[in-house]
């Protein structure tokens, strides 16, 4: 079994941002509100996040006298396994025995723990080094305590598994025996710490579960620390916190963003057994930001009574208050954007002479792609409890961004941040939905009405899908020129979608740096003339981030179009894609006009064409690319880099005469650099594959008269077992090398939909340019 190279550096990087322009103008305001900006202007990675990083052992590690090691996890656990993986890092560096390690969830406290915003696939790459330093510090304190007790120089002792040994005499003291004396020692300087060599590591980089179905790699350690609680029903999610005297609320929210309650008749609702109180609550002024939408709250002594009470309400909505939003028809808007895409827009990147390239083309092809609105739809709908008592608030909620939730509660109740205690529960999925704390703020508002009693706001699935922070609709128009040999000479891409910026400020109508930087301006192909444009598009509902965000439409369009170019050139798609990528080389993001680079140092994290080529080559090789297939069967390939990781996927797909799509196998090659917990990396890629198939096949929320048409899983379809590939094989590339760590939770998703559409084309000759596939094959 291999272990990763020791890439740990003791000092955190602190270099100036390479593009100061990022901090200028509206981009900064937006970014600051998303926590994407720089707490300490000029830092990258964890140091660039609000609250930064913390590596004090006392904050993250506690050792009891019985030897139990408790590791504090301060990131949100939503299925990515971070409670396991970060604890493994600390346990390994500390020398703890995993069987004697507990993981305790931190409360929201950015001052104490550093940044807790679990978003952007950042947890491991930002916290690997601080956690190792914290654990190395704790280990040193244990060694110092032992040396002191024995009266020997600290150099003569070392830590083995859960004990410290005097090398000369082989005397040992267990962690528990040393806990009290070690705890009172001074925390060692970071500079004085030495981290373990790779050969000394026991957990980091090791497999803990089956590898592509092969159980032989299982070393007996359960893949995830919460597994047993989950399978026995004991795991506590936001919805599972039960408090004495608790009230249960559901809210009837305006069906159109910005609409208000015009009149309310709650006579019948009040008659529902168990209903305690009904009242209107003000919606936020636009832009909506993280504020509640308002509406009518029904508070009851159980959830069912609240749901029934709400159903019995008679509400007339003032739709005119929603302005233009009330006229929003997503199907019409698609056509509007498609028409607009025919004209030039704001230039984002311009290399070479696109006009000449197009004029002189031996062959020109053009295609326009559409991706619809989607709801994140975590399987646990939003839910939160707030209790206001004696001027202090206590909250329980499944949130990706605990600090924002805590801030929201404090602002709503008019109390200090320090008077808010937020208990982070497990999240029943997040996917970006739970980084917006609107549902927690709703509970805070209701708590104000019932001082001394905890109030839970429960979202139903209808609430969740109708009032999501929707993935933006996107129209992407591409045009390419090919020379007489089919080689690409020009590439013109216009992308149009509303910006998430519209959530926080006056609608910018253009994508921000961090939105363009998600695979649009970083389009890596080696083509002499490239022009990238971003014409206007307005938002008509709440737009928010969804797992992988704008990488989804960008990858869908670019990776579909690359396959269309290959077909136009009469070439094999893989060979053509490799030709488009060009020679292995590392490109500074600035060359792509990308000043964001996911917040990472462009010198450590350049755009690496070599890594792209490698994942393409690996995925196609593993899939048996090029093998003849039966009629109605085809392989599709796509590659995308995002969150400073690289993913390529090949799907082997069958389309029957009724247009039913069966995915027989997925081969995913993934390079996130060093993988701390390969089994959980693999599980993320498997999940992304299934979610991506759903995005391609059937996930859409459409709008009529400003209102979401699909309201539950009977309308907004997410993948079922029959949609999943019969087999998913994940091939980790570079996992034990010394490439810098990249993201894991999101980057597997963007290439899935284009790979599926490319496979459908290979199987049927039909090109899908509008998602979802739906009944287009029937």
């Amino acid at each position: 079994m291999s272990t990763p190279k020791n890439t740990v550096r003791l000092a955190n990087v602190s270099r100036r941002r390479f593009l100061k322009g990022l901090a200028a103008g509206s981009a900064f305001i937006l970014a600051a509100r998303w926590d994407l900006a720089l707490a300490d202007q000029g830092d990258y990675g964890a140091a660039g996040m609000p609250g930064g990083w913390v590596d004090n052992p006392h904050v993250f590690i506690r050792i009891d006298d019985d030897g139990t090691v408790t590791i504090i996890n301060h990131r949100a656990e939503m299925g990515q396994g971070i409670r396991t993986s970060l604890a493994l890092v600390a346990a390994d560096e500390l020398g703890a025995d995993w069987n004697r390690v507990n993981v305790e969830q931190a409360e929201a406290d950015q001052d104490k723990y550093g940044n807790q915003n679990t978003d952007g696939s950042r947890s491991m790459r930002h916290w690997y080094q601080p956690m190792r330093r914290a654990a190395a510090g704790a280990r040193k304190m244990l060694e110092q305590a032992a040396a002191k007790q024995w009266g020997v120089p600290v150099e003569d002792v070392e830590t083995r598994v859960h004990e410290v040994v005097h090398k000369g005499s082989n005397r040992t003291l267990g962690f528990g025996e040393l806990a009290t004396s070690a705890r009172n020692l001074e925390v060692p300087d970071t500079d004085s710490l030495s981290l373990k060599e790779d050969a000394q590591l026991r957990y980091i980089g090791r497999e803990s579960g089956p590898v592509n179905g092969d159980l032989r790699n299982n070393d007996g350690r359960p893949p995830a620390i919460d597994g047993e609680d989950i399978v026995t029903g004991k795991a506590v999610y936001g919805a599972d916190v039960m408090l004495d005297d608790m009230l249960y609320a559901v809210i009837a929210r305006p069906p159109v963003l910005g609409a208000k309650v015009k009149s309310l008749d709650d006579t019948q609702a009040k008659a529902v057994r168990g209903v305690v109180k009904i009242f209107s609550t003000e919606g936020a002024d636009m832009p909506a930001s993280f504020n509640p939408l308002g509406g009518v709250a029904v508070v009851a002594d159980n959830t069912w009574a609240a749901i029934r009470g709400r159903a019995a309400l008679s509400i007339e909505w003032d739709r005119a208050a929603a302005g233009d939003n009330a006229n929003y028809h997503s199907e019409d808007y698609r056509k509007t954007l498609e028409t607009r895409a025919e004209n030039a827009g704001k230039v984002v990147r311009d290399n070479g002479d696109i006009n000449t390239a197009l004029e002189q083309a031996a062959k020109r092809i053009q295609a326009t792609y559409y991706m619809p609105h989607m709801a994140q739809a975590p399987i646990e709908p939003p839910v939160a409890i707030v209790l206001l008592k004696d001027g202090k608030a206590e909250a329980w909620a499944p949130v990706q961004h605990p600090h924002a939730a805590r801030q929201g509660i404090a602002a709503t109740l008019g109390i200090e941040l320090t008077d808010v205690t937020l208990h982070q529960t497990l999240l029943g999925g997040g996917f970006g939905r739970k980084s917006k704390p609107d549902f927690v703020i709703e509970a805070a508002r209701l708590a104000k009405e019932f001082e001394g009693r905890p109030v839970r706001v429960q979202w139903t699935r209808e609430d969740d899908i109708q009032h999501a922070y929707f993935h933006a609709v996107s129209v992407d128009r591409l045009e390419a020129s090919l020379d007489k040999d089919g080689k690409a000479t020009g590439w013109l891409h216009r992308t149009l979608s509303p910006s998430i910026g519209s959530l926080f400020a006056e609608d910018p109508k253009h994508k921000g740096d961090f939105e363009l930087g998600m695979g649009f301006n970083t389009m890596p192909f080696d083509i002499p003339a490239i022009r990238l444009e971003n014409p206007e598009a307005s938002a008509h509902t709440r737009i928010g981030w969804f797992r992988a965000v704008y990488n989804l439409p960008h990858a869908y369009a670019i990776q579909s179009f690359a396959a269309e170019m290959a077909a136009a050139a009469g070439r094999d798609h893989r060979d053509y894609l490799l030709e488009l990528l060009g020679e292995p080389r590392k490109i500074h993001p600035e060359e792509f006009k990308d000043g964001w680079n996911y917040g990472e140092d462009p010198n450590t994290y350049p755009v690496d064409i070599g890594r792209m080529r490698t994942v393409v080559e690996r995925a196609t090789k593993e899939a048996g690319w090029g093998k003849d297939k039966r009629k109605g069967r085809g392989m599709g390939l796509a590659m995308h880099h995002s969150f400073v990781s690289y993913a390529a996927i090949v799907l082997d797909v069958e389309v029957d005469e009724n247009g039913e799509v069966t995915v027989h196998r997925a081969d995913i090659a993934f390079d996130c650099g060093q993988a701390v917990n390969p089994e959980r990396v693999r599980s993320q890629l498997e999940g992304a594959c299934v979610m991506g198939i759903g995005i391609a096949l059937h996930s859409e929320v459409s709008f009529q008269n400003g209102e979401a048409v699909e309201k539950n899983f009977d309308g907004f379809s997410i993948p079922r077992m029959r949609n999943a590939p019969r087999e998913i094989r994940v091939h980790l590339v570079n996992a034990d090398g010394d490439a810098p760590m990249g993201g894991v939770g999101e980057p597997g998703l963007p290439p899935v939909a284009p790979a599926l559409c490319n496979a459908i084309y290979a199987a049927t000759g039909k090109r899908i340019r509008r998602l979802p596939v739906g009944n287009q094959l029937g």
Partner: protein, 155 residues
């Protein structure tokens, strides 16, 4: 009064007859392993056994559960088949966020009790009503197959 037999315990509950079993279990009896996901029997997160049959508790009025044995995920650790299913789930690291997995395990256990050697079609038919937003379906299939084989080895 509604009389329910939940995991072998009798409960006399002062609740409306039309309250879905899901909310009675969660809010009244405080058994929170059974989850709310959709409220319209589309996702299966609320799956329990009624006299051994996998049932969506979110659309089952408590009145229709009277006189039947209600079994929830909390009782699976005491159930021979349930234990095997849980162990297979752990062996294969099925769960990601885990929220739907109680319902998945209830459906899988009901399947294996009725059919101890399910083929792929049987598994898909029994499990297609259980959604997993994290996308753990492949491992669910593998875990059911493993749990079924564990039965054969024992027998």
């Amino acid at each position: 009064m509604i009389n329910l037999d939940i995991n072998g315990q009798k409960h006399e509950l002062d609740i409306p007859a039309d309250m879905p079993l899901l909310w009675a279990l969660r809010d009244i009896v405080k058994l929170t392993g059974t989850k709310f996901g959709c409220g319209i029997a589309q996702c299966g997160a609320c799956t329990v056994h009624l006299d051994g049959e996998a049932t969506r508790s979110c659309v089952t009025p408590v009145s229709s559960a009277e006189g039947k044995k209600v079994t929830t995920i909390e009782a699976m650790a005491e159930d021979e088949v349930g234990q095997r299913v849980q162990q297979a789930w752990l062996n294969l690291g099925v769960a990601q966020c885990g929220y739907c997995q109680g319902g998945q395990i209830m459906s899988a256990t009901a399947l294996l009790k009725a059919n101890n050697r399910p083929n792929s079609t049987d598994i898909h038919n029994a499990m297609n009503g259980n959604l997993c937003r994290c996308g753990t379906y492949n491992r669910i299939v593998s875990a059911i197959e493993q749990a079924a084989l564990a039965k054969e080895v024992k027998a």
